[in-house]
């Protein structure tokens, strides 16, 4: 009879151990996905930002060679990730391409009408670095360039695109972070409940320790150690699941490989393990504090 009871109680502890790990692992997988999306979107934002194009046009006192030289020189200026010289021929080609793409065929211009003189002056095409891709920083960059090159006539870029990139991505990231916070709260509530049940099955041990004069630190220690182990194991399972999901998405849905690199995966691994351990530790500690504060009578 007693033996049966004993086996049952130890099986009870095992079940709660497994259920905590399953709960935490599933929640960490979801959180990991959210983190992946945040990191991916952030990477995408950087890439898009660095693709913003600025065209520099100079007055007629500078010839093509001078402008070529400027394109070489500005490359080292802080805030510029790419700078190249655009010859009138290349500019015309691009202009033609854009015209061809547009359905309005009348917009197509025959060069012969212009006496074979390309109406576009040579220019420099720039892209800012990620941190300079904001309205303010670009204005600063413009002032800087005008100061260096008084012959600079135009500093052209699409303000709309800049705003879209900055605000659009930020909104998206905030939304995702909100989802992450909600997930964290749900995870916490679920784990807290599971751990409370696990503690309930240990109430005689806790009560014995309290009555004979164990310090609360001593009572907590094994539970917190267990929480760390659970968090770690759950994080490992979650990562396996997460890599599986990312692999499937990459191979069967959309190609996400350009957004994912080794460093990002390491960050993800670190974040998931840390989150797993912290969530378990925190939830266990809250449940334990509640338990240890309870009057001995209320334990039954």
């Amino acid at each position: 009879m007693a033996k049966l009871k004993r086996r049952n109680s130890s099986r009870g502890i095992q079940t709660s151990f497994v259920s905590i790990i399953v709960t935490v692992a599933l929640m960490l997988t979801l959180l990991g996905l959210v983190i992946t999306i945040v990191l991916g979107v952030d990477g995408l934002k950087t890439k898009v930002k660095e693709q913003i194009q600025i065209d520099l046009f100079f007055d007629a006192t500078l010839n093509a060679d001078d402008i070529k030289q400027i394109a070489e020189d500005v490359r080292v200026i802080e805030g510029i990730s790419r700078a190249e010289f655009v010859s009138p021929e290349r500019a015309w080609e691009e202009f033609q391409k854009i015209s061809m793409d547009s359905k309005d065929s009348t917009s197509r211009v025959d060069l012969s009408l212009l006496d074979d003189v390309i109406p576009i002056p040579p220019s420099v095409s720039l892209s800012p670095t990620e941190e300079f891709a904001s309205l303010q920083r670009l204005e600063q960059l413009e002032r800087d360039l005008r100061h260096r090159y008084p012959q600079l006539e135009e500093f052209n870029y699409s303000e709309d695109m800049l705003n879209d990139v900055n605000l659009g991505f930020d909104k998206l990231i905030y939304l995702i972070l909100l989802i992450a916070v909600l997930l964290l709260i749900i995870t916490f509530a679920l784990i807290n409940n599971t751990i409370r049940l696990a503690l309930y099955s240990q109430r005689f041990i806790i009560k014995t320790q309290q009555l004979v004069g164990a310090t609360s630190g001593f009572i907590r220690k094994p539970f917190l150690a267990m929480a760390i182990v659970q968090g770690f194991i759950a994080a490992i399972f979650a990562m396996a699941l997460l890599f599986g999901i990312l692999y499937m998405v990459n191979n069967y849905l959309i190609d996400i490989s350009p957004l994912i690199d080794f460093v990002m995966m390491l960050k993800l691994l670190g974040a998931v393990i840390l989150l797993g351990i912290l969530i378990c530790l925190f939830a266990t500690n809250v449940a334990l504090s509640k338990y240890l504060r309870m009057r001995l009578d209320d334990l039954y």
């Binding site: 007693a2 009871k5 109680s9 005689f204 320790q209 009555l211 004979v212 004069g213 164990a214």
Partner: protein
């Protein structure tokens, strides 16, 4: 300290006796009020217990015996008055100090059973570990020592369910003795036992008192204190009163121990 006492004695004999008596007492309660929630359970509680005294605490169920015991082991705090237990001032007791108060008190309660999933020795080692013992060899030696005191040395490696009710209760008493307590609090220690086994447990507790550990035992079994000598505190009408000072336990009259 001794010099201080000497000076006080020179100044005032009465004050000296009050201070020394109080510092010697294991429990000293003066004008204590105990509440559970909103309700006052006991008020104007005055009593003291000296080392080696055996004190019965009698009263009906729900009279407040358990509340009084709870205050003594730091689960409830006194509302008014002053209370000292094994050198701790209960009015100033911080929650971090409660474990250290409890290490000086042995608790033998009806609902404080052995852990059924481990052997007798493991039960004792568990308590020793929880109260700061580190060396395994010393712990086992202490465990065997207290089991020897209650006459159960051979049962050290049995499981609790292999022992009879009386034997289990003796192990509980052994567990209470592990840290050389100055006070044993027993709440209905004979509650579930037959009269013969009850007597056995009583003799054991009496013998412990004789060794110098004060024992405060709550019971509603009035036949027990008719057979065993000891002071009797009665809890009734929210107050605690001493029944008779005549029945003090006499260690030289040990017919009860036979």
């Amino acid at each position: 300290m001794r010099l201080l006492y000497f000076v006080i004695r020179l100044l005032d004999d009465e004050v000296y006796f009050r201070i020394v008596e109080k510092s010697k007492a294991i429990i000293a309660a003066e004008h204590v009020r105990i509440s559970q929630g909103e309700q006052t359970v006991l008020f104007d509680v005055n009593f003291s217990v000296d080392p080696g005294q055996f004190v019965f605490l009698i009263g009906k169920t729900g009279s407040g015996k358990s509340s009084l015991l709870k205050m003594l082991y730091g689960e409830l705090s006194p509302e008014d008055g002053s209370a000292h237990v094994v050198g701790f001032d209960l009015n100033k007791l911080k929650s971090q100090q409660v474990p250290f108060l409890r290490r000086k008190i042995g608790i033998v309660f009806q609902d404080f059973q052995l852990l059924m999933d481990r052997s007798v020795m493991e039960n004792l080692l568990f308590v020793l570990r929880a109260t700061g013992w580190k060396k395994k060899r010393e712990m086992v030696a202490r465990g065997l020592e207290v089991l020897d005191l209650v006459g159960l040395k051979e049962s050290a490696y049995k499981m609790p369910h292999q022992l009879s009710g009386g034997e289990q209760q003796r192990v509980v008493i052994a567990r209470a003795l592990l840290n050389n307590p100055e006070l044993i609090l027993a709440d209905e220690p004979t509650g579930n036992l037959d009269p013969e086994t009850s007597k056995e447990i009583m003799r054991l507790l009496m013998a412990i008192a004789m060794e110098g550990t004060a024992v405060l035992m709550a019971t509603h079994d009035f036949t027990l204190f008719e057979h065993f000598n000891g002071r009797v505190l009665k809890v009734e009408n929210n107050q605690v009163e001493e029944l008779s000072a005549l029945g003090n336990f006499n260690p030289f009259n040990d017919q009860n121990l036979m």
